[in-house]
Symmetry: C2
Subunit: 543 residues, 2 copies
């Protein structure tokens, strides 16, 4: 008899720990598969330290395969769930071929996506702090600004380049500005033309104080320490809009700056909105056992789920979106899956955290733990030890601890690893006879032939002969599938050695939607190329 | 009296060491400026180890500012040299504004660019090993292939995903395949569905043996060791072409593989070809003192220069493009600049290397040093110590040495940092009243307005009124400057809050050159929009 298969979507705290606990409770009696777009687990609270170069990227992440022995791991991008057929669909491999896997129980731990639509210009001009790529991007931008400020002769531009703005005064925002300020301060000695007084850091917080997740005293301590380091803190203030040159605030003032980090603004991903579940507050509603409402075989947890907590006064309470809660929820989901497969009643979720910690940079932290309030170096060390304890294996822990120790007495690296801004237009080469695509594939871009020749054969219902189209230099394909979001109908073969230019899916759609001449052109040619009655008249255009 | 200014273009071994020696010999009597596109010096021989994760990126590079105290560093992309005006021109900052700096003496240490045009498909489908971004790209591709191979059910695809091909059997090729094979072998335990026997490594070498730079015995030792580790070595074979699925060899066979690393194929950059110097063998010819032929104030060295060596038999000999030679050439150029500024006669360049080293992965190396031939662990350790000795500062050396030590007993990281495939179509937001561009700027992309409105004002010779163009949703700008490679003529101002889509310069040009409909469109509108006689008739199209 096949073992029941539990598919977990998402590899953050919620998903990874569900897999870990399931493996612990169910041993080999359950087949566990975890699907995630990246092959590693990010310790998200450390991202600001990656951005500042305090720790290197490999120290802030753990490969999921290494963390989860006995769990089948699949690196893929989930697209949707077919709840009736009990299958999860995803795009796999570099060609993003659509595939699916069946589940008996489904765990949704998909987190949230950044949604910056609350203020114009934020999506275009701010850096977030969600994943490693964000941390690298922030790091590169800071160094680029310093490099530029050191050589420019334009005083106004220099001031703008040296002003760093962070939006959001929660954990992520406070840690980010603390780390950025420390990084800049420590690297200035390499920039002889920048004076310390020319650098400006601004923290913009909507609420009346920082770190509203923590007791007031700790929030005030963090605020005092940051202010003493020269950080300009704007409380009760929101970002109204941003351009590449200025950040506009809701009090009518603006800050000339070309580096804005936004740590607020979340919403459901298109995967979540496409689940067919009625979301509440943008999240998946679950019952007290963490089971999705109306779906017996589906569980949801973490930032993506709206999780009710027991309430004494009848006022509804929900679990906050923190790593601490996510790991506890994971334990509860794992237990409840094992129980429900054994025909037992599930447990209710309840949890009261024992403590909270935040780092504010410069070897200072704030903490509340088992009722004690701590601040300064001791809180910062606690925060570091907590992370080291989560690393798998003694040797890894030792290496990370030593590297952190070195940070005390080594100059901070200012290496700016080029953004390798991959261009949207790639080129591909096919040898004569190569099959370029089969029926049923998702087209990944808009293709134009630069040299060579291809042949497309599409079967026509009720006709013996295929619709044949010869595609030569200057001809193109893919626009129809991209615009209608369909898969390929026919087989495309290179009839000569052929070089093509590819404009990627997203870029093609952006361009077509924005630039009317292009849209007009594609509308006008649609009938000419594809209308089947034209196929007899179609003349080959290649040699 | 102002100090003479020496401008050095390029921050590799040749450029960085010229700056270092100049500073040493001339102290403060010369102003030294070094211009490089990246702000760090890469120890290029370590790139294969970065790709394999043996060392992390920060350990393979040193920030130029840290390495070169007292030298003015400028991160910029050089475009050309005006030899008459004695100025170097470059693009600076994220907006790539054209600027220039004057020199008294110019040092060209610009290296070479990869040129893969010798075989079709190589430019499209192979990874190089030139800089940190290449090493990261290779690393990510290998891990992506392993992730995909572990979950695919297509046996043929699996074989293709698990076949790794390296082109070139010199230092770089041998080190790369050695490191890649070691990395894959050490990480397979995390991929339960991949058997060791399924992985295949192929090294393709045009010449009759490996490491032709070293004595035959060492080349044969490397070959034997690599073959013993299961690497398939194809001597006297060249790559004829490559697609995303197959590597075609000149013996008529092909290897199904979707990961090809090419370590051969070099040529001059467009900067070098644009110098106005008659290149020989694609390089800048210099005299025995490393001074460029016919240019008294210009010196060239490193891979970009064709450097004659003293010859006993009258047969012309040239310096090989190695790091060892480049650092010696740097010393000679620095001395000669100091001498020539003091009115003394320059020295001739001559150098006979004391030894050569190559790592072949798996803690093995081959070396010839002071006449001794070494191989195995001892050669590998020598190779590592050599690098550690080049690092600046005791603490950095200790950290790097310890991290290398840890590599023995720690599992290899398999973190695949997402390629953050930045889309080519970006969006920018401008607030009402913002000046978007001034006259004389280089346009960085093709802009289309998605919402809002802008006004362009271009002064017209001999007329009192400017040419005014109102640019609204669906309208665009930038195409003329991009296609003609000119700078902006007028001032562009946002007359409302405005959001625009940007297709970057290179992508726009690729698209326009490949896709005839787009080119036709731009030709047809050129007169309509820009012909000055139309300016009175132009009606505003925005609200």
């Amino acid at each position: 008899m096949p073992r029941p298969r539990v598919v977990i979507v998402g590899g953050g705290f919620a998903g990874a720990f569900t897999a870990k606990y399931l493996r612990k409770y169910a041993k080999d009696s359950i087949e566990i598969e975890l699907i995630n777009a990246e092959n590693y687990f990010v310790f998200q609270p450390l991202l600001p330290e990656v951005a500042s170069g305090t720790i290197s990227a490999p120290d802030a992440v753990t490969p999921l395969r290494y963390m989860l022995p006995g769990v089948k791991f699949r690196m893929a991008e989930v697209t949707h769930v077919d709840a009736d057929a009990k299958r999860v669909h995803f795009l796999q491999g570099s060609r993003r071929v659509p595939q699916s896997v069946a589940y008996d129980q489904l765990v949704l731990a998909v987190g949230q996506k950044t949604n910056l639509s609350f203020a114009p210009g934020l999506a275009e001009h701010s850096v977030c702090m969600r994943n490693l790529a964000d941390a690298h991007q922030l790091r590169n931008k800071i160094i680029r600004r310093l490099e530029h400020a050191d050589v420019t002769e334009d005083a106004e531009l220099k001031q703008r380049l040296l002003t760093f703005v962070v939006g959001g005064g929660g954990f992520s925002g406070v840690e980010t500005i603390g780390e950025v300020a420390e990084m800049v301060a420590r690297t200035l000695k390499f920039y002889p033309n920048i004076a310390t007084a020319e650098v400006r850091h601004v923290l913009v917080q909507r609420g009346p104080r920082l770190l509203e997740e923590l007791p007031e005293r700790l929030g005030l301590y963090a605020q005092e320490k940051l202010a003493a380091r020269g950080i300009d803190i704007r409380l009760n203030t929101s970002i109204a809009s941003a351009t590449g040159n200025d950040v506009y605030l809701d009090d009518g003032t603006s800050i000339p700056s070309c580096l804005l980090v936004t740590t607020v603004g979340n919403g459901p991903s298109t995967f979540t909105t496409g689940l067919g579940i009625n979301l509440e507050r943008g999240k998946i509603p679950v019952d007290a056992n963490l089971r999705a409402i109306d779906r017996d075989d589906t569980w949801a947890l973490g930032d993506a789920a709206l999780i009710p907590l027991p309430s004494e006064d009848g006022e509804p309470r929900f679990a906050p979106p923190t790593a601490q809660f996510a790991t506890r929820e994971a334990k509860c989901v794992a237990k409840n899956i094992v129980r429900s497969l054994a025909g037992e009643a599930p447990e209710q979720f309840d949890f009261t955290p024992q403590g909270s910690l935040a780092s504010i940079g410069n070897y200072k932290g704030v903490a509340q733990i088992f009722g004690l309030r701590l601040s300064g170096l001791i809180a910062w060390m606690l925060w570091r030890f907590l992370y080291i304890g989560m690393l798998p294996g003694f040797a890894t822990r030792l290496r990370v601890a030593l590297n952190w120790g070195f940070d005390y007495f080594l100059p901070r690296s200012i290496v700016q690893i080029a953004n390798q801004t991959e261009s949207a237009t790639l080129y591909r080469y096919f040898a004569k006879g190569d099959t370029v695509s089969f029926p049923g594939q998702r087209v990944d871009g808009f293709y134009t032939v630069t040299e060579g020749c291809l042949e497309s054969r599409i079967p026509v219902d009720g006709e013996a002969e295929d619709f044949v189209r010869v595609i030569g230099p200057g001809d193109h394909w893919g626009e129809r599938s991209l615009s209608n979001n369909t898969t390929t109908l026919g087989t495309l073969t290179a009839t000569d050695n052929t070089r093509v230019m590819v404009l990627k899916r997203r870029d093609f759609n952006n361009l077509r939607n924005t630039f009317p001449a292009l849209d007009d052109y594609f509308k006008s040619i649609n009938d000419k190329i594809y209308a089947p009655h034209l196929r007899q008249q179609k003349e080959p255009t290649c040699k």
